[in-house]
Symmetry: none
Amino acid sequence: MILFMAVKSRPDPARSIVDALLDVVAEHGLERATVREVAATAGVAIGTVQHYFPTKDAMVVGAFTEVVARIRRRVDAVPLSDDVESDLRAVLGELLPVDARRQTEARIQLAFAARAAVSPTLAALQREVLDDVRASLALAFERRSGRRDPRRGHDAAAAALALVDGLAMHAVSAGGQTDVDALRRPLDLMLAALLT
Amino acid sequence: MILFMAVKSRPDPARSIVDALLDVVAEHGLERATVREVAATAGVAIGTVQHYFPTKDAMVVGAFTEVVARIRRRVDAVPLSDDVESDLRAVLGELLPVDARRQTEARIQLAFAARAAVSPTLAALQREVLDDVRASLALAFERRSGRRDPRRGHDAAAAALALVDGLAMHAVSAGGQTDVDALRRPLDLMLAALLT
Amino acid sequence: MILFMAVKSRPDPARSIVDALLDVVAEHGLERATVREVAATAGVAIGTVQHYFPTKDAMVVGAFTEVVARIRRRVDAVPLSDDVESDLRAVLGELLPVDARRQTEARIQLAFAARAAVSPTLAALQREVLDDVRASLALAFERRSGRRDPRRGHDAAAAALALVDGLAMHAVSAGGQTDVDALRRPLDLMLAALLT
Amino acid sequence: MILFMAVKSRPDPARSIVDALLDVVAEHGLERATVREVAATAGVAIGTVQHYFPTKDAMVVGAFTEVVARIRRRVDAVPLSDDVESDLRAVLGELLPVDARRQTEARIQLAFAARAAVSPTLAALQREVLDDVRASLALAFERRSGRRDPRRGHDAAAAALALVDGLAMHAVSAGGQTDVDALRRPLDLMLAALLT
DNA sequence: CATGAATGAGCATTCATTCAT
DNA sequence: TATGAATGAATGCTCATTCAT
């Protein structure tokens, strides 16, 4: 326990650099995530950043890896019940920018998604996490529907994930003033339609 | 006739600059859309670009204005029939990156959506076009459902638009190798669920 | 008379361009006297400026010519009396930046003097006007001293002119807050010493 | 000894950048003192200049600070004797552009004086050094005159300093071909008049 | 006579990166 | 392990100038 705290209290520079980068991205976008700005935000020297991430690309990849890990953690953190439907609602709701923290995550994800469109390395990571989350959702849809129709389960999962990410993108790219209901109602409507 | 040819032969630099910018964005993202690169792509001098767009921001705004106009044109161009359901399918299908041209548009839109997350000016344009398209879709959903339930129609529209944009974002940010069926089936599934 | 007024009322673009340039120089220095800024200040099109002054150098030379003419006019405008000493005091006092208008002139002259240090064309104009004014002053000093000592008269003139221009330069380059007495007293002191 | 050689062999980039800037100013004026030109003249990379002087303004201020220090050094370096009059002649003569080195200094000072007219930061430095030198001269005049008349001493100092700077400005701005006697005689004349 | 479109060189500045310590 | 000096390519932008009308 003491050891764990000690480890935690030593402020792992790589981690704080990644966090700083994500802060910058959330606030100003990936184009402002320069080595200088990240170093300043992290409170370390510019040379330190490049000690841990020799190139800027490595730094961006490192940060996106953390983003992807966060998504997985968020999805896995949702406590599952016997009610598949409410579980689905919970998991998908987790991905909507319904509060400041989730909005920040959405902004970060949108920034990296756009970058992934022109970066094969990031695209690969994006593909992985999308496949992963989709597979989880597909399993839930399949279990709920009772019958063994993997394709329908997978299509429903793809639809559901696209829906929440689309809603998040619309909210974030339109200024972020979307109210919570305007995000929840379309999701509920589609889930209800899909699950009957 | 002579006038028309004259107009056609002088190809409106502002237009070709915007087109060049969008080409660059589609290929390399907004971060590579420098004044120099755009000028080179458009085949004009760097000073010419800045004669038409005094600042880079003005150039980006001008380009996004064109993007927004294109979206409206694409939605409006879909021929409407008596069958509301097939109309919806047609309009929403138009927005999916099912061919090279539409994929290019999707890449461009994703790039600008990410930029809009940190640019109030672009965010305002994005909000406008989203509201506009959503309103059109809401009308269709409402008409189809028969009953007067504007809220449900609007929620369905929000869900449908988020779904197609989410699918497009996933396809584009995952490397663009998504096959056409993987895009169409989730849309069809949701539309079928929503319209029964 | 009517003709003269008509000529004067037609707002001779060359004249107003020169005036605009001098306004800009007085306010922001010669480095801000760009063709753009001058055109904007004069309220004419950028092309109009270059219609009258084909190159920027020509424009600057034109403006300095006007500056030089103004100096001559200011010196010549001082009404002469029988009292040579008070005439000298009046002429030299005219060149001190004792009010806003004269301070503006001093700022302009300093800017052009600095430019003349690296421009043979401007240096020639500067030499001319300096020689001219010095000759006038020398005549006065000579007349005052009674004896025929041209060299002493010329040296006194050179000293007096250097004194007032030095005082002006010091006032203008130190922020322009120099009070009137701090300008007048050194001049009076030196004149008194020189004339006894 | 070894330390001294080490220091000497690593030639302090900031210093050589300032020297290069002053060389450029002396030759072509402040308007040609671009970061590029200064870097090239100093023989360092353009990025190196901006490592030491983050902005061009900082570089100009740094250079003017050196100019001001040089003036103080030149004034202080004049060896003082028992003869106040000859001391005054020596100090003031030091400021006249009577040889190539002093002419270079005069050109530099004129350039910065003109810039100070539109730059509060430079104006403050200029005010400081003028007050400083004037105070030294005032002391000498006062001591010489014997009587306690601080105001007269200060006025005489202001007159003397304005005279030499005015002579320098005239020489430099008229092309720099002024002969040494034409500079010395007005100074001697005024000093003689002032000190009797 | 007066305009403004078009140009490209040059500007200050920001950037990621290399390297010596 | 961590730093910062040094670099030069690239950026957005300003500029004087040419030219067609």
